[in-house]
Every structure is written in structure tokens, then in C-alpha cells.
């Protein structure tokens, strides 16, 4: 019996999602592939955004996929780590900015 929820080998099976719903699966992958094509942003920039978001949503599949994708594109580990700090700053900032709500509440109740 599998002892963990995540298996790195499952990432390779992502495409099989469509087997249980061909229409929506295909639409999703079409959309996904279009999103990552070069547009106003380069594929390289999109890969770094994806890497940062992967960490924010803490998806191990995505982290594996976009770390590998970054390496393929010649993105350096310094660039990768900076992208992560952007994600981390936003995530930390999102916690902290709610402190204003806390302060408002304290000031109202006990000001």
C-alpha cells in the first residue's frame, strides 16, 4: 500500500486526467499550453512566475516541473531563488498586511 500522498512518478501521468473527462481535460491542456507560449511576456519570464507560484501553492509536482523547466531554459539558481523571495515576500506581506485589520479592531474595541 502506498504510504505517501505524493509520488513523483504521478507527475508523468498528469495527461491521463483527460481519460475521465476528455472534453474538459483537453480544454484545460489547450489553455495551459497557450498560457505558457511567448506573448507580451517571454516563456522564460512565465517559467519563473510559475516556479514562484508553485512554491506559494506548495505543489510538489509543480516545484519539480518548474525547477526542471527553469534549468532547461538556462535560468540560474540565483534568479530562481530571487523569484521565490518575491513569492515569499507577497505571502509574508499578505499575513502582515492583515495586521492593519487587527490594529483597527484593537483601536475600535480598546482604543
Amino acid at each position: 500500500m502506498q504510504k505517501t500522498y505524493y509520488d513523483p512518478a504521478d507527475l508523468k501521468k498528469f495527461g491521463k486526467i483527460s481519460e475521465w473527462n476528455e472534453e474538459l481535460g483537453s480544454k484545460f491542456f489547450d489553455y495551459y499550453n497557450s498560457v505558457f507560449k511567448e506573448g507580451a511576456l517571454s516563456e522564460r519570464e512565465k517559467s519563473l512566475i510559475a516556479l514562484a507560484v508553485s512554491h506559494t501553492i506548495q505543489c510538489p509536482y509543480c516545484i519539480d516541473a518548474y525547477t526542471g523547466d527553469s534549468l532547461k531554459r538556462g535560468i540560474t539558481k540565483e534568479e530562481m531563488m530571487e523569484a521565490l523571495h518575491v513569492a515569499s515576500a507577497i505571502r509574508g506581506g499578505a499575513t502582515l498586511v492583515h495586521g492593519v485589520q487587527m490594529m483597527n479592531k484593537v483601536n475600535k474595541l480598546d482604543g
Binding site: 516563456e43 522564460r44 534549468l71 531554459r73 538556462g74
Partner: protein, 351 residues
């Protein structure tokens, strides 16, 4: 960082039969992944046949001033296999009578062969259309006797193709050795200074990118753009084209894949990226690789795996272009390296 060849270290992987065994066992034997033969058979591309000869690639010896981690030749200062002048003379006869439009000298560091300059001078006289020397760049700065190589290349209108795994020092030195990046930059600047790689210049300077680890190269055009921008912004360096080459799982790269427990995942990624369109253009279909001792191979990789051409003409002494044309290419699972994504060859992408 490697300092000695696998051969010098007495590693099992210095033996080609051991490498071939690894490439045929495990995930390929138990059916987890299809063999290359099965894969190309799916699209009726087996047997892979040689077409008209266009490129003669001559390996003038395995000696090199560098010991790069990924080297498929297992080259290094300790390798003694060097092409003699007699064999070079036989090669010149082949160059003269063959219909190939491109001559491609490789190694090791070809410049370390004591008869390298003589060979270049003689070969240049034949008037072949594209005369390539694969120079690792650092050789130009390795010793005073090599300082004039850029001028020598220019004199003979040699097309210089050089390895450059990344535009940053850290990634380059990790793969190719401490100090390689700085020396390569200096050598590129010297080549630029005499006209190599400049826009519109006939003195061709191309770079070869191959990944520094267990991953496939990204899009060649995008990589070229990034390389050009970074090398120009940081060092004022110009070059013509970037060839993105996939590391093939043989010799030192195979050793690295196994030691770092990346072998199976890497083979999976090669098989997943398999592109049947690349198969029809793989370099073995228009190239012949000649070893330091004059034997003929479908490619430099097969040379290192000691898989000779499947033809009665097996040595330059009995070179016969008619016999060689249409021969069945000798394949194994390392061939997946040339058919992944946009395909890979010594000239970069093949699709």
C-alpha cells in the same frame, strides 16, 4: 570536478561494453521503456539508413587540457590516443575523394595533436566548403605556443565552434573546471578582435551549449537570445549561432547520471521528449565519424562506444562512399539523446 579520465581511474564505465550493457538492461530490458529500435519501428523508421555523405568528422585524438564532467569522449590530459600524420594523410585522401561539403575536426582538444597545424594547412588546400575546428577556447590561453591559434584559424578560414555551457562563471566552471569561464571569455574576445563572430563576418564563430546537469536543453533560439544578450552586456562578446546539444548518456555523463541517481529519470525524459520528426534528420544519416586510428563510425558517440559502421568499408584505408551510403545505422538507447525535442546533433537542432 573530475581531474582524471574514467580510463585512468580504471572505472568500469571506461569500457564500452559495460556502458552498452547498462543502456540495454534495467528499464529497457524489463519493458518499462521501449528500446530505441522499438520506438523508431513504431513510425517505420527502422532500420535507420545512411543517406548521402555530407559531413566528415575526424577525431584527431582524445587528449585534452580539460576534464569536463559531461565529456562523452572521456577526454583529458591523461589520454594518449592521438592520430598520427600517416593516418592524417589517409584522411586527406578521403577528404579529397568524398563528396562531403563539411570537414569537422574534433577531439579531445584537436589543437593538442602535434600534427594539428600541418593537417589543417593540408586540409584547407582541398577547398572544402565548411571547415570546422571544435576548439574548447581555453586551449588558446593554455600555453604560449597556442596564443596565435586565432590568427592561424583566420589564415585558413576555419569555422570555429566552441563549447560554452553557460553565460555565468559558476555554471561553466562547475562543468568544465575552475578558471574555464574566464579563459573562455578572454579567448572569445581575442577571436572577436580579429573578426571572428562579428555581424556579417565570414569568419564563423558558433557556440555549443549543453546542459550542466541531468536535464535537457531548452529551446535553441531562446537560449541563443539569452546567450547573446548576456555575453554582449557583460563582456562585449559577439558570436554567430548557438547550437543546443543534448548530453548523451555515455562515458562521463553516464557515470555522473548513475552516481547522482539521475539515470532512470534522465532516460525517461529522453524517451518522453522523443520526436519522430527528428529521427529523419539525425546526424548519423549524413555524417561519418573517423577515429584517431582511422576507423569509421556512424557518429562520435558510436565511436566512443566502439560500435563500428555496419559496412564492409570500416577503415579509411578501405573507404568506399558507395558502400557506406545506405548502410544500416548502428543504434542503442543512447540514440534517444539525438531525437529528443527539436533533436540534437553536432550542428545543434535538427528540426
Amino acid at each position: 570536478m573530475a581531474t582524471k579520465s574514467l580510463q585512468k581511474l580504471g572505472s568500469d564505465l571506461a569500457q564500452s561494453n559495460k556502458q552498452l550493457k547498462i543502456l540495454s538492461n534495467g528499464i529497457f530490458k524489463n519493458g518499462e521503456l521501449p528500446t530505441f529500435k522499438d520506438k523508431i519501428s513504431e513510425t517505420n523508421q527502422f532500420p535507420l539508413k545512411a543517406k548521402k555523405l555530407e559531413i566528415l568528422q575526424i577525431n584527431v585524438g582524445y587528449m585534452c587540457n580539460q576534464v569536463c564532467d559531461h565529456c562523452h569522449v572521456d577526454a583529458g590530459p591523461d589520454r594518449k590516443e592521438i592520430m598520427t600524420r600517416d593516418t592524417m594523410k589517409q584522411c586527406l585522401e578521403v577528404i579529397k575523394k568524398s563528396g562531403a561539403h563539411t570537414l569537422d575536426l574534433t577531439g579531445g582538444a584537436p589543437e593538442m595533436n602535434p600534427d594539428f597545424r600541418w593537417f589543417v594547412e593540408e586540409a584547407a588546400k582541398v577547398g572544402i566548403k565548411d571547415f570546422i575546428v571544435r576548439s574548447n577556447l581555453t586551449i588558446i590561453r593554455a600555453n604560449k605556443k597556442y596564443y596565435d591559434l586565432p590568427e592561424f584559424f583566420k589564415k585558413h578560414n576555419v569555422h570555429v565552434v566552441s563549447s560554452m555551457p553557460h553565460w555565468t562563471k559558476g555554471k561553466t566552471d562547475k562543468q568544465r573546471g575552475d578558471g574555464v569561464f574566464d579563459k573562455s571569455i578572454k579567448a572569445l574576445q581575442e577571436l572577436n578582435a580579429i573578426g571572428y563572430g562579428m555581424p556579417g563576418s565570414n569568419l564563423k564563430l558558433d557556440l555549443v551549449y549543453n546542459p550542466s546537469g541531468a536535464f535537457l536543453p531548452g529551446d535553441q533560439a531562446a537560449m541563443q537570445k539569452d546567450f547573446k544578450k548576456a555575453l554582449m552586456d557583460d563582456f562585449g562578446i559577439e558570436f554567430h549561432n548557438l547550437f543546443a546539444i543534448t548530453n548523451l548518456p555515455i562515458a562521463r555523463f553516464l557515470d555522473y547520471l548513475i552516481a547522482s541517481e539521475n539515470y532512470e529519470d534522465y532516460m525517461y525524459s529522453l524517451v518522453e521528449a522523443y520526436n519522430p520528426a527528428a529521427v529523419s534528420n539525425v546526424m548519423c544519416t549524413n555524417t561519418l565519424s573517423i577515429s584517431w586510428d582511422g576507423y569509421l563510425f556512424d557518429c562520435d558517440f558510436n565511436q566512443m562506444l566502439e560500435l563500428p559502421v555496419n559496412s564492409k568499408s570500416r577503415h579509411i584505408s578501405d573507404f568506399n562512399e558507395e558502400l557506406l551510403e545506405g548502410r544500416d545505422i548502428v543504434i542503442s538507447q543512447h540514440c534517444y539523446g539525438c531525437t529528443a525535442g527539436a533533436g540534437s546533433s553536432c550542428q545543434g537542432n535538427v528540426t
